[in-house]
């Protein structure tokens, strides 16, 4: 222990005396370790950190296996499965979710409200921080005006009031009693963001037995806790046996699924993220390997320059183990300092990329430093220390003590030089791979940005607006008894249009490249009864007048909606060019009739315009057929009124930077509808950039990695050649003394660099050729083996390498022969 402390003290002194080496080694290690810790922090949060429940690996999600998307089991079905599972099985359900805007002593807060049955929270095993959970009778109709708060809501909105239980809060004019507060970090559903509250779902007794029909209720998520000793597969078997009987008792026309899927809840949340995260892990591992190669090379050179010291220690009685210990302590110190700096670097990188990470990965609320990340940091530090220290230490310990003492062969042996050159070649090769990857993704982003979007991106602010907040039909919901189009949306439009600087404001249920859900509808064209597969299916939208002006979408034919289109005028619709091409090819769509329903005003909706195609959810996908209905013509009882209740989006074109309108938009909205909530208020340009999704994140990451790799490889090459020059000072001095011109000396050094770079680029190009194939699924607008990218990268790397070699070569050419040849 004492000897380790002495070695540590000596190592610190040594590092202080070599600031150039120390800074370089620490910086390179910090970047290599930092990238890995950043990646591990993300992976830990998404893949490893257990969910905040008791025995979270026993919580499973239960779904019906159905060919119809979004088919969910009814509550009655769930209860029957629970009974089939026996007395040891606990099940619970989340039956509804909505956003709400609530006010408390801490101000106004937008929260996610989840309606749950009384079994769900107890099933998770988590006790509330304050108060109690729901009782079974509190899901009876009229008795479900209670709420549990998330700890962050309690802290932010109610200022951690210890007497909160029993107080009330108001949601859309309805008073709820606060029963208690759930512990910090508790969330259900998990990964839906912060600020959650829970209330008991209203479950009428008839819904507990109704398998289908209007009285049945459909939870959006069903969960179970695996009984002791049971696996998900075993539970699935039990459920499948029961479900086949249950399905046989449901009317045939309902096509009730007879099979059930049971998945670990955490697995179900992160399954799509696993492949990209493992890919990321592979990439950062490559960066770390590069960093280790580089620092090992530096340590080798340093070890050679300290041969005499090692020989003296050996002559004075230091055993080989003792010398190894000293080397390892020094490399551990370097690695430790690099790791601490790397931790800071890693967390900074996560902060920098947070917007992209949050948009493209699930469970991001769980991404933060915990004991696993610290343990990984410690482990990585130790492994790095061993890797960078062991080879140089072993190499030097094999040298002959007497020869080193007497000054013989205190230079690098041929094999040591070969080792270092191999390390530099490996660094150059890896760097080329990273640079090619970065180049391909940068070109992808460039190509994506060139895709014509069909609308204008300038100065348009967009945002989602939720007035009703409920995704379920609720006869008691006052918003479903009044015409919110007339009472809220149209007045909102008027107020928005009156904001100074606003040129046009419009509403639409779907805006281009925003991720909110759209609705597919099927109707009839010109009252023609056609087979189902030929029926005109299209994405149905509601829109107000002004939409085309707000988004700058050209009209191909006819007109868009105007103020003259009202609830009492004939129903009009507008289609897009994709609809016209597909369902009315070669015809003028104007005047054709689109029918929804067998009777009523919407049975004879006339097409009055054809709107230009715009990109919808993704810039790379072809535009699908769309049909627009005029918002002003929608009222309770008409088709698509449910969309208006659920969700609308605002588009505001301004003469001033759209970003500056955020606060005014929020103010106007809450003046018109105090309980309204908003989602993703951002400019349309931001929406476009966000739609590039994971490609942009990958591009940013690869840019960073490529820059790192380039820097590390350049430092490696520079270090190798500098060392070689130092080692050959006498030889160079002699050559100059014998008449060698400067160009000859430059050539001596540069020629060696040229060979290394050529070998490194060749190997790297071959590796990149294969690696590019892996990326081909992610790139767009550029081939995986794009000649321009490969050529440009080779040129960049060659130029940087030349610069790294030039400085030592110049130093060699400037050697003073008198100084160089002076004997000791």
């Amino acid at each position: 222990m004492r000897s380790i402390f002495e070695d540590l003290r000596y190592a610190l002194r040594q590092l202080r005396r070599s600031p150039g080496f120390t800074f370089t080694a620490v910086a390179v290690l910090a970047l290599g370790i930092g990238a890995n810790i950043a990646a591990f922090t993300v992976m830990n949060g998404i893949l490893l950190r257990p969910l905040p429940y008791v025995h979270p690996n026993r919580i499973v999600s239960v779904e019906l296996v159905s060919p119809m998307p979004y088919f969910s089991m009814t509550y009655a079905n769930m209860l029957q499965l629970r009974d089939a599972g026996g007395p040891g099985l606990q099940m619970g359900a989340a039956l509804g979710g909505s956003r709400a805007s609530i006010v408390g002593p801490g101000g106004r807060l937008q929260v996610e409200r989840t309606e749950v049955d009384a079994n769900l929270i107890p099933m998770l095993g988590v006790q509330p921080l304050l108060g109690r959970v729901f009782r079974p009778e509190e899901t009876d109709p009229g008795r479900n005006r209670e709420v549990l708060l998330g700890e962050d809501v309690w802290r932010k909105l109610y200022l951690s009031d210890a007497q909160i239980a029993g107080k009330t809060l108001t949601i859309r004019g309805v008073a709820y009693t606060i029963l208690g507060v759930m512990p910090r970090n508790f969330a259900m559903p998990f990964g839906e963001g912060p600020f959650q509250i829970w209330s008991p779902a209203e479950i009428p007794s008839v819904a507990r037995t109704a398998m289908s029909g209007d009285t049945a209720i459909n939870p959006f998520s069903v969960f179970a806790r695996l009984p002791e000793g049971m696996t998900p597969a075993q539970l699935a078997d039990v459920f499948n046996r029961a479900q086949s009987t249950i399905a046989s008792e449901v009317p045939k026309e309902d096509n009730w699924p007879a099979r059930v899927k049971v998945t670990g809840y955490q697995d179900s949340l992160n399954v799509e993220a696993r492949k990209p995260l493992f890919l990321l892990a592979g990439v950062v591992f490559g960066i770390w390997a590069l960093a280790c190669l580089n620092v090992t090379s530096l340590m080798l050179a340093r070890a050679v320059s300290r041969l005499r010291e090692q020989a003296v220690r050996s002559a004075l009685g230091a055993s080989r183990m003792r010398l190894l210990q000293q080397s390892m302590v020094e490399s551990l110190l370097l690695s430790g300092i690099g790791a601490l700096a790397g931790m800071l670097v890693g967390q900074s990188v996560i902060k920098l990329l947070w917007h992209q990470i949050n948009r493209n990965l699930p469970l991001t609320s769980a991404i933060h430093v915990d004991w696993r990340v610290v343990a990984a940091l410690v482990a990585l530090t130790l492994v790095t220390a061993v890797l960078i220290g062991i080879i140089p230490a072993l190499r030097v310990s094999r040298r002959n003590v007497q020869e080193s003492l007497h000054g013989f062969n205190t230079t690098a042996s041929a094999s040591q030089s070969r080792t270092r050159e191999t390390l530099v070649v490996a660094q150059l090769a890896l760097t080329l791979v990273f640079l090619i990857g970065a180049g391909l993704f940068l070109r992808t982003i460039h190509a994506l940005r060139q895709v014509p979007l069909g609308f204008s991106q300038q100065n348009v602010l967009t945002g989602g607006v939720i007035l009703s907040g409920s995704s379920r039909e609720d006869a008691n919901d006052p918003l479903q008894q009044i015409n919110i189009v007339r009472t809220s949306y149209l007045p909102l439009l008027e107020r928005l249009r009156a904001i100074p600087g606003v040129q046009v404001a419009a509403l639409s249920s779907v805006l281009p490249l925003r991720r909110e859900m759209s609705v597919r509808i099927g109707g009839e064209l010109d009252h023609k009864d056609v087979p189902r597969e030929q029926a005109p299916m299209a994405d149905g939208r509601l829109a107000s007048s002004g939409l085309v002006e707000a988004l700058g979408i050209p009209m191909a034919r006819g007109r868009f909606f105007t103020e003259d289109d009202t609830a009492s005028s004939p129903v009009v619709v507008v289609v897009n060019q994709a609809f016209a091409s597909k369902f009315l090819p070669g015809l003028d769509p104007i005047g054709h009739i689109y029918s929804m329903g067998k009777t009523g005003r919407f049975h004879d909706a006339r097409i009055v315009g054809v709107i230009g195609d715009t990109k919808q959810t993704n810039v790379t996908d072809a535009t699908k057929p769309e049909i627009y209905f005029c918002l002003a013509q929608i009222e309770p009882g008409t088709p698509l009124y449910g969309i208006a209740i659920a969700f609308m989006q605002v588009a505001i074109r301004a003469a001033i930077p759209a970003d500056t309108l955020r606060a005014q938009f929020d103010k106007v909205l809450h003046e018109v509808a105090p309980d309204a909530t908003t989602t993703e208020v951002k400019t349309i340009h931001e929406a476009v950039e966000d739609s590039f999704g994971s490609q942009k994140l990958i591009a940013h990451l690869l840019e960073g990695f490529a820059a790192l790799a380039l820097m590390i490889a350049s430092v490696g090459l520079y270090g190798l050649l500098s060392f070689a020059v130092a080692q050959r000072t006498k030889e160079i001095g002699l050559r100059i003394a014998l008449g060698a011109p400067q160009a000859n000396i430059l050539n001596l050094i540069l020629r060696r660099a040229f060979v290394l770079v050529l070998v490194g680029l060749s190997i790297g190009a071959a590796m990149a050729w294969f690696a590019a194939r892996l990326a081909s699924g992610y790139i767009y607008g550029v081939q995986a083996h794009d000649a321009l990218t490969f050529t440009a990268v080779v040129i960049v790397l060659a130029a940087t390498s030349f610069l790294a070699a030039w400085l030592p070569a110049r130093r060699a050419a400037a050697v003073d022969p008198i100084l160089a040849l002076r004997s000791e």
């Binding site: 002495e6 002559a315 009685g317 007497q402 000791e824």
Partner: protein, 234 residues
């Protein structure tokens, strides 16, 4: 104390074998001050390396006291050298990043001694060599003579039975050289067995016995009248 029987050492380079020590038979008694002389390439340093147990590639028998060094493995030889032998080098071989005190402490740090005991031993030596004031200086802050003094202090701090010196005054001017040789005499009088390699006839007079090597053979082994002058260490 030391007995060498038919010690031989050769170096192979390609197909050629060069003998640097040929059938060396030698006995050195405790308390002797022996000088090894000879022309360049005679095998002086090679003999010293064998005596120091730095070299493993020799043939023959080497008895250190009652210990057959020729039968020991590398680790055992290193242990023996660490305990019983001290070495002084022509180029001092002080570590530039250690202070005078730390350089002297270095061989002690490779033994399992309590820290207090080590500190005490270093303090004793600093005092004995009258370099206490310089204990926190670095080698580059000392003159050549002072550096060699520190080198000798380092070599004797653990009270070795045998002190080996390879051209200890080779890099010093005459005044410094004289002081160093006087110091060796003091150490010898105190009981340390000393073997020095030197080209200097002057230095040889400080010893009691001269061994001469030529082409690896021991060609002369005779006693010398010791000098009587005393000069204190500086």
């Amino acid at each position: 104390m030391i007995e060498l029987k038919n010690i031989e050492r050769s170096y192979k380079t390609g197909h050629t074998e060069t003998w640097v020590l040929r059938q060396i038979r030698l006995t050195i008694n405790e308390g002797e001050f022996v000088t090894v002389m000879g022309p360049s390439g005679a095998g002086k340093s090679s003999l010293l390396n064998v005596l120091a147990l730095l070299d493993d590639s020799w043939l023959g028998e080497y008895w250190f006291g009652n210990t057959p060094a020729h039968k020991l493995n590398r680790k055992q030889r290193a242990d023996l050298a660490r305990q019983r032998i001290g070495m002084v080098f022509q180029s001092y071989h002080l570590l530039d990043d250690l202070t005078v005190a730390e350089n002297i402490d270095l061989p002690l740090s490779y033994k399992n001694l309590p820290a207090k005991e080590r500190q005490g031993m270093v303090a004793d030596i600093l005092d004995r060599f009258q370099i206490v004031a310089k204990k926190d200086l670095y080698p580059n802050q000392l003159s050549g003579g002072q550096q060699q003094l520190v080198g000798i202090a380092r070599a004797v701090v653990h009270a070795p039975a045998l002190l080996l010196a390879d051209e200890p005054t080779g890099n010093l001017h005459s005044t410094q050289a004289r002081e160093i040789m006087e110091l060796f005499c003091q150490l010898n009088r105190a009981g340390t067995t000393i073997v020095q390699v030197t080209h200097s006839e002057e230095n040889a007079k400080y010893g009691k016995r001269i061994l001469e090597l030529r082409d690896g053979w021991l060609t002369r082994d005779e006693a010398v009248e010791p000098r009587t002058t005393e000069v204190g260490a500086q």
